[in-house]
């Protein structure tokens, strides 16, 4: 009896205590939302009020006028989708080979692939930049996609998952005359869907959020991704007030936020994949 009431009391305290940090935690987004509806003079009014006196709806339209936001979103979508697809596809092939086929040097290959997961981006970025420059790929989609079109982590993840699929299924299918490739895509892939889905989320979000690489390989505004494009709004000037900057921020941040809210469980599962690394 006593335990239940203290439990209940603890729970209520936990909830109350949580609400304040929760509000603090989400405040930046609320603040930016409020700023995005303020015009030039209101933004600098002191003391600041969260609800603007006049709703400056034009900020959002102006944001589109300042920079090709649609183009940034398109670029990010194209690059992230392509990168994710290629990483998943190459990982499926490689993981299957490692999980199901015996061949000389398999252990070494697996070891090398796992080793690539230990290499941080800083160590590869300068030579990769020089490689891309020599190939004349600077400021192209290839430069953004190709260097990241395979993932050691993806291979490792799918390899582990595929290993756990019983071998008998495959042996039976092969005896029936099915080709290994058909078996891979008709049986193994569907069975591996949980891992593939989680990895896809992880890969897509990672691609979307990339900063340093797109920063150095893009030169023209048209090729910039969302993350780099927002840099154009870093400070205000004659034609661009903070309200417009905040509107642009919200426009460019909403795809990922909406995706998160809509698919929270899968999204979270995908992000925890990074933990297995």
């Amino acid at each position: 009896m006593a335990i239940q009431s203290t439990e209940k009391r603890n729970r209520l305290i936990a909830t109350a205590v949580l609400f304040i940090p929760a509000i603090v935690h989400i405040f930046p987004i609320i603040y930016v939302l409020s700023l995005s509806f303020k015009n030039k003079t209101e933004v600098f009014k002191y003391p600041p009020r969260l609800i603007p006196d006049h709703l400056a709806l034009t900020n959002y339209a102006s944001a589109f006028g300042m920079a090709p936001l649609g183009r940034f979103l398109f670029n990010s979508l194209l690059v992230s989708t392509a990168m994710t697809f290629l990483q998943v596809f190459t990982a499926i092939l490689a993981a299957y080979a490692l999980a199901r086929i015996e061949f000389r040097g398999k252990k070494l290959v697996l070891g090398l692939i796992i080793a690539t997961m230990m290499v941080p981006g800083e160590v590869t970025i300068i030579p990769n930049y020089l490689t891309v420059a020599k190939l004349n790929w600077i400021d192209t989609y290839q430069a953004l996609i190709v260097p990241f079109s395979a993932s050691g982590f993806g291979v490792f993840l799918l390899y582990q998952f595929m290993e756990s699929i019983p071998k008998e299924l495959e042996e039976a299918a092969l005896l029936d005359g099915a080709s290994r490739i058909r078996f891979l895509f008709q049986f193994v892939v569907p069975l591996s869907m949980p891992a593939i889905a989680a990895f896809s989320v992880y890969s897509f979000v990672g691609a979307w959020n990339q900063y340093l690489w797109p920063l150095i390989v893009t030169q023209s505004t048209e090729m910039q991704t969302v993350q780099i494009g927002i840099g154009m709004f870093r400070s205000q000037n004659e034609s661009m007030s903070w309200g417009v900057i905040m509107a642009a921020t919200l426009i460019l941040i909403s795809p990922m936020l909406l995706l998160f809210v809509a698919t929270q469980k899968q999204f979270v599962r995908g992000m925890t994949m990074g933990g297995l690394k």
């Binding site: 940090p21 933004v43 002191y46 003391p47 990982a91 990922m256 999204f267």
Partner: protein, 293 residues
């Protein structure tokens, strides 16, 4: 019969592996080795001509005032972000776990920065830090504190960037702590409660020890991430003012892509890799000792 099949199999295996191996070989292995190679050379900015100079790049970094400042900044930044973010996200996770009301809403709120990149997090905070009209200084003034020019003051710029980073990292860390908490069987906690332990004792002596692997994991990941922080610095301060937010990876970026010092920057990349490796190893050994005690 079986040998021809094994040849076919081997051929198939290598074909399936080829795309991955080519990409990883060209864009991970080769550059990793090349970075080290470049670090031992003086590389001309435009012609890419290389002159072997041994460890000179590394020796020069030791006498570079800006490089030492960047080392210091990175260490300070790591401490300023990892400690608060681990503590705060652990607290938040425990509270979220214990709380049955508005579960989904509260979880969504706390986890939400996971969907925000470091550049976007910086944009969300940038006006907060405005010295005259930002909300942060307004709140401080309500409690009679004169807020500084956060992003323009050499003393406060790094903490400001750290606060933004902690905010962003809490979302990510809470996920792991929640997963860790979920894996602790309820009967263990109930047993402790029956034994007379209160909530705080249950947390400190039962939950936390069982959560130790997760805490270690989160700490290691946070340390590695903090050493690689770039986007928010590029947006908020560009390494300034007066180099106060010039962390190691930012100094590397400037030397490689603005000053065109390929050799020196490559040496910085190698050093950064070693530093992160050492930090990780230290954390593991400290954790091992804790676990033993």
């Amino acid at each position: 019969m079986s040998s021809s099949r094994s040849i076919k199999n081997t051929a198939l295996a290598w074909t399936l592996l080829l795309p991955t191996l080519v990409i990883l070989g060209l864009f991970v292995f080769y550059p990793a080795v090349d970075s080290f190679y470049l670090s031992l050379h003086e590389v001309d900015a435009f012609s890419m001509k290389k002159v072997f100079i041994g460890l000179d790049n590394y020796k020069m970094l030791l006498i570079s005032p800006e490089y030492w400042q960047s080392l210091q900044n990175s260490v300070m930044f790591t401490i300023m972000t990892v400690v608060p973010s681990v503590v705060l996200s652990l607290a938040a996770a425990v509270a979220l776990d214990a709380n049955p009301y508005f579960r989904n809403l509260l979880r969504t709120i706390f986890l939400m920065p996971v969907a925000v990149s470091s550049a976007m997090a910086a944009m969300l905070w940038i006006f907060f830090y405005n010295p005259s009209s930002g909300y942060l200084n307004y709140l401080l003034e309500l409690i009679h504190i004169n807020g500084p020019n956060w992003l323009g003051d050499g003393k406060w710029a790094l903490p400001a960037v750290a606060i933004t980073t902690v905010w962003k990292d809490i979302g990510f860390n809470v996920i792991f702590f929640l997963a860790g908490l979920a894996s602790i069987p309820n009967d263990v906690r109930e047993a402790a409660a029956i034994d007379g332990a209160n909530a705080w004792q249950r947390f400190w002596f039962v939950v936390l020890p069982m959560l130790a692997p997760t805490v270690l994991f989160v700490a290691v990941v946070s340390v590695i991430n903090s050493f690689q922080s770039f986007g928010q610095i590029h947006i908020l301060t560009q390494g300034g003012p007066a180099g106060s937010t010039n962390v190691m990876v930012y100094n590397l970026y400037r030397d490689a892509f603005q000053n065109f010092q390929t050799g020196s920057a490559s040496a910085q990349a190698v050093i950064l890799f070693v530093v992160m490796l050492i930090a990780t190893l230290i954390q593991f050994s400290v954790a091992k000792r804790q676990i033993r005690s």
